[in-house]
């Protein structure tokens, strides 16, 4: 019976020949590799990816790149205008602004990425669990989320910083203690929708385990949502850090961060505008690059948009 139906060995040979000639099978190497190929075609996103990689490299190799120690105070050159010695000038303590921006990237980037990735992991896990299992589990997680959502973000972060003391770790906590809720809500919604899809039912009809359904059915289809949440969340975290530092409760001087630099520069904005503009540009470039790269990544993960 089976021989009769599946007896297409000759055609099979033809197929293999065709594969060799057109490379149809060779062209395909899995969902993620395929997505990467699509991403590579998006020039703008690739450009932004390079910019981001450069920024990250700058953060890693800051001691090698910075011309001065960011905390070295040169009182002979206070609030100097840009010159060959100090390309972006110096601040009110005579510290080199370029070096401070280079070192500041360490704080901003690590806070952005680490805080957002941790928050997303928590959010995705809890959201997926709530959406997939539903019932009591969902009710409990949803109630917790509602409690967290009842706090205004910035004021909550300020309260935590004041309560727990200033420091990088506390800043992480303050920044992301609330944002996982947004991720969790989105993921819960998509998982609830996806698990009713017929292709998930088809997998179940074949005896697929929960693990299979989550990894093959749910995650690839949620991925674009997650990616967008993460890539939009990182610049958001960078901005938050800047706001908190600006308000004087973020990273404490003399450790440089883009946020506290802008905060310090505001006094001198009319006298030495370049002092506040430069860290502002750094924030802007990073935020825009993350946003465009995130959009590109989302498109690349959706096979429907393949042109």
């Amino acid at each position: 019976m089976s021989k009769k139906v599946f007896g297409f060995f000759n055609k099979q040979k033809e197929y293999e020949k065709e594969v060799l000639e057109n490379g149809t099978a060779a062209r395909y190497s899995g969902f993620y590799a395929d997505s990467f190929k699509r991403l590579k075609k998006n020039k703008m996103a690739m450009f932004c990816a390079i910019v981001l990689i450069l920024i990250i490299l700058v953060a890693i190799f800051a001691p090698l790149l910075a011309p001065y120690d960011p905390t070295y105070q040169d009182y002979s050159a206070v609030l100097a205008s840009p010159s060959l010695a100090h390309p972006f000038g110096t601040d009110e303590y005579g510290r080199d602004i370029l070096s401070r921006i280079i070192y500041g990237s360490r704080v901003s980037i690590s806070i952005g990425i680490v805080a957002q990735v941790v928050a997303s992991l928590v959010g995705v896990t809890l959201g997926a669990v709530a959406g997939y299992y539903g019932g009591v589990v969902d009710s409990i997680i949803s109630r917790i989320m509602e409690i967290f959502q009842a706090f205004p973000d910035l004021i909550f972060a300020m309260a935590i910083m004041t309560f727990m003391g200033k420091g990088v770790l506390n800043l992480f906590i303050a920044l992301r203690l609330l944002t996982w809720v947004r991720t969790a809500r989105m993921i819960r919604g998509s998982v609830m929708q996806l698990k009713e899809k017929e292709y998930i039912e088809a997998s179940r009809a074949n005896g697929a385990s929960t693990f299979w359904i989550i990894t093959k059915g749910l995650i690839p289809n949620c991925l674009s949502t997650i990616i967008v949440m993460v890539t939009l969340g990182i610049p958001n975290a960078i901005m938050y850090e800047a706001s908190l530092s600006f308000l004087g409760i973020g990273i404490q001087p003399p450790t440089p961060s883009w946020g506290n630099m802008i905060s310090a520069a505001q006094t001198f904005i009319s006298y030495r505008p370049v002092y506040s503009i430069m860290p502002g540009i750094a924030i802007m470039i990073t935020v825009i690059a993350f946003n465009i790269f995130g959009d590109g990544l989302r498109d690349a993960l959706d096979p429907k948009l393949k042109s």
């Binding site: 019976m1 089976s2 009769k4 139906v5 599946f6 297409f8 055609k11 099979q12 197929y15 065709e18 057109n22 149809t24 099978a25 062209r27 395909y28 969902f31 899809k197 017929e198 292709y199 039912e201 088809a202 997998s203 179940r204 009809a205 074949n206 005896g207 697929a208 299979w212 093959k216 059915g217 690839p220 289809n221 991925l223 993960l301 096979p303 429907k304 393949k306």
Partner: protein, 334 residues
Amino acid sequence: MNEKMSQAPLLEVKHLRKLFPAKSGFLSKEKTFIKAVDDVSFTLMPRETLGVVGESGCGKSTMGRSVLRLIQPTSGEILYKGQDFMKLSGADLRRVRSEMQIIFQDPYASLNPRMTVGEIIAEPLNIQKKYSSKEETRDHVVKAMEVVGLNPKYYTRYPHEFSGGQRQRIGIARAIVLEPSLIVCDEPVSALDVSIQSQVLNLLKDLQSSMGMAYIFISHNLSVIKHISDRVMVMYLGHVVEMAKKTELFSNPSHPYTQALMSAIPLPERHSKRKKIILQGDLPSPANPPSGCIFHTRCFMAQEICSTQKPELKDIGGGHYCACHFCGKCQQGE
């Protein structure tokens, strides 16, 4: 060998029920249920096609899914090749599931948009860990694609690149790749264009004659049901109202609902002489079904007894079952 097999039923369903909890008022303790499938029993022989016909909300899809335990039935018995399917779990359940498949109505929703055609068709093989090597799996998928008339060069394409008919072929390839003995077809052609419908119906028939699987074919379209089925079950509000061999049912429809359904299909012919029975009113809500005979609110020949007493599904001769107080007495509407 075939003879022996054909004597033992492939599937026996007894008193299958599925209740869905209905929304009750906030904080109210009282629980109400929607009887989506109520006391459905049938047997299915190997290589047989049982057509299930009814309007939306009659419970035919829920019934199909309950048989596969995609929806857990509330009560009832499902015997698959003599073993109690309801009690299976773990590895046993997975093994039996490899012999039962489902084809869905919506060829757009039933294929994972993030998988290629090859991955979709290979999924059942991978879940069941049928082959250890990727090459073997791929070869098998390619063969299945050819059987359903898909060019294997589409192996690496994504489902959104295909038309409805081709997508339905992908769904069929996924269903046959494990060579199952039972496929539940849930409205497999109703989302397709007419010219594509006939291609898919022919394909399903061909596959049945070459691979020998049984179908539970669910459709709202009586003409399609008549074309493909051996036996037909008519459902209304979760109940079986009539069940018979196809030829018997279509030559001698005994339940007034079946008669009305038959007369309501618009036929592509002018000035047809058949008498139209146009039912009045809408389908009652399954949350609050009528008392007595569930059909009496729309029945053109309802009597007093119909609103008080529920008619049994009884054999009116030759395996023709009908649930009406007057069946046999009232053929063709009089």
